[in-house]
Amino acid sequence: MAKTFPIGGVHPSDNKQWSKSSAIETMELPDVVNIPLSQHIGTPATAIVKKGDKVVVGQKIAEATGFMSANIHAPISGTVTAVDLQPNGQGIRQMMITIKREDDVWDEAIDRSETLVTECNLEPKAIVEKIKDAGIVGMGGATFPTHVKLSIPEGKRAEILIINGVECEPYLTSDYRTMLERGEQLIVGTRILMRAIGVTNAVIGVEANKPDAVKHLQAIVGAATDIKVQMLKTQYPQGGEKQLIAAVTGRQVPAPPALPIDVGAVVCNASTAVAVYEAVQKNKPLIERVVTVTGAAVPSPKNLLTRFGTPVEALIAKCGGLAEGDVKVINGGPMMGRALSNIAMPVMKGCSGITIMVGSATVRGVESACIKCAKCVEACPMGLEPYLLSKQARKRAWDAMEANDITSCIECGCCQFTCPANIPLLDYVRLGKQTVMGIIRARNMKK
């Protein structure tokens, strides 16, 4: 039997058929881009260009502020026209650098040839430094700065590197296409990451609904024994970091504040591994990514290699535009993605796909009474009791929620997905989690 994580999980229809067979296309360069200074978890970067400056592709335009932050580079060449507040996808104004495009001039240090460079003799520290310079963050959606992940804390030791090629989120196919079309780079990137954290074996986890990706990667690895391509049972949320570690190694990461490194594992997304290859071997910073644009009513779903800052609406137009009527445009997949109120939102580092829902799929079902069917408890991959937590959140019983391990929640949405009474369980669980985390932070500050 294929490996999977130990508890919970659901099986949403993956609907990857719409975009899985379209090869990666390059999106046209936008005329104007808005580059948010906060495209990662942690402190926003600090702009190092000002209005009127000329920039070239790959030039650093914002610098990491502190350890938990990431550099940002110009995705197009041209003139900086503003460093100001602009609305993000949720309509909230954030600092962004606006660049007006002039031609497509690249930084000379970047190797733009197609040749595969497999040799890497850099010291681990130098690799991490290069990754940090390139501003690489987790590209699966969580946008955790990769150099932070690779800096193993004192006293801890990494034993295994896991490459996350699961892409358990329904609809999305950007990692899948990347694995198929850029498998060689991915494998080299994996070996670089292994070198960076000093491990001798890596596992690439791929779900069983992508057998061709497994085969392709296995063929590239060939007889080498350092990298194993592991097929996993198709089950959401297999791509959750903790679920993937449990599926591959059988080890369970304890409740927060424990991290994957506490069980000796480091997890990186498949697209991140390719970005690492480009950064270390080709000196190319993170300036573009593959974005899936898909949905039942999208005329021609595509996987688009897109420079950051390109407005989402341009991608949608490229795929045939929005049908009239009720729509919901989601940044990410349908299980964990965020619905957009502003489709002029620029594509960012964590934007793995744009999912478009139309018609009745845009609205939720009518909520009815909880029948205590326990489906949510059964579905929760973290072994929590969503029905109880959501009830407590409605009553603002934050202490009780903390006692019931709310901080373990990964917000995967399994509970709400499965609830036969259409109760918005995660809405309230998430509210409770945010509030409890705030209370805990305040308490720790006092200490």
Binding site: G325, G365, K372
Partner: protein
Amino acid sequence: MANKFFVSPAPHVHGDLSTTRLMGDVVIALLPALMVSVRVFGWNVLAITAVSIACCVLFEFLVQKYLVKGPATVGNLSAVVTGLLLAMNLPANIPLWIVVIGAVVAICIAKMPFGGLGKNIFNPALAARVFLLIAYPVQMTSFPKPTLEGFADAYSGATPLGAAKAGLVDFASFDIAGMFTGAMGGSFGEISALALLLGFVYLLMRRVISWHIPVAVIGTIIAFSAIYGATEGGALVWQMPLFHILSGGALLGAIFMATDYVTSPMTTKGMVIYGIGIGVITMCIRLWGAYPEGMSFAILIMNSTVPLINKYVKPKRFGAVK
């Protein structure tokens, strides 16, 4: 652009489960048992079932509309399930007016005053059955003799458990095949183990219920009666368990009544505890109590422990330190 943009928190998709579908599946799973009853006891069974369901749905509709003044809830089929289960827990020759009283108790006393579906503590169908059993003991315990020729009104036969209580059962040679297929006295839903097991398989396949409660209940009954059989006569180690799971409401209760979502625990560990409790209490009543059958009482007693079980029995958290 003529677009209306919708925004909501994730997740943006929903599974195919709905309360109505789950309840509908329970109804479907009960159909084989109902059909066997019609075959054994005649068309009267359908009349009782129809009255019971109609009354439950009507009472729920009326209470919801005129007393609760809330949105209509009969569409979720839960009243249909209650009505069907109540009917199946009655003898096939019960007067219809008693069925109506049962429906009143189930809906207007056991279910709606607690706040309707999802809030009641006791299984409505069972609460009604126990009420009827105590209020109308004669009508509730005179069962028509099962016959494949149709309904025999005049003849009242004892249930296997009643016979056992009276010391009339020879455990070495009782009619296993008959009890399996429906040739036994009793409430009309409980007579055929085969039909009930068919329903169980359907419920498992559709993932309506998990196996934990039925298996815990039946397993406990088997273990309990095997030990009892061994201490009583040595040779009854396997006959006793077989007799006890096939007779009375053991299977109907374990598969359909104990697994009622609202009145059963939320965690698998809790379900097992709850199931074992039902098994033990059932066997105690059957072997040493005044009533020949104890399934209904056992489930109701364990229903009352469910809030406590939910409070103290937590699921195993991911990453919990062993």
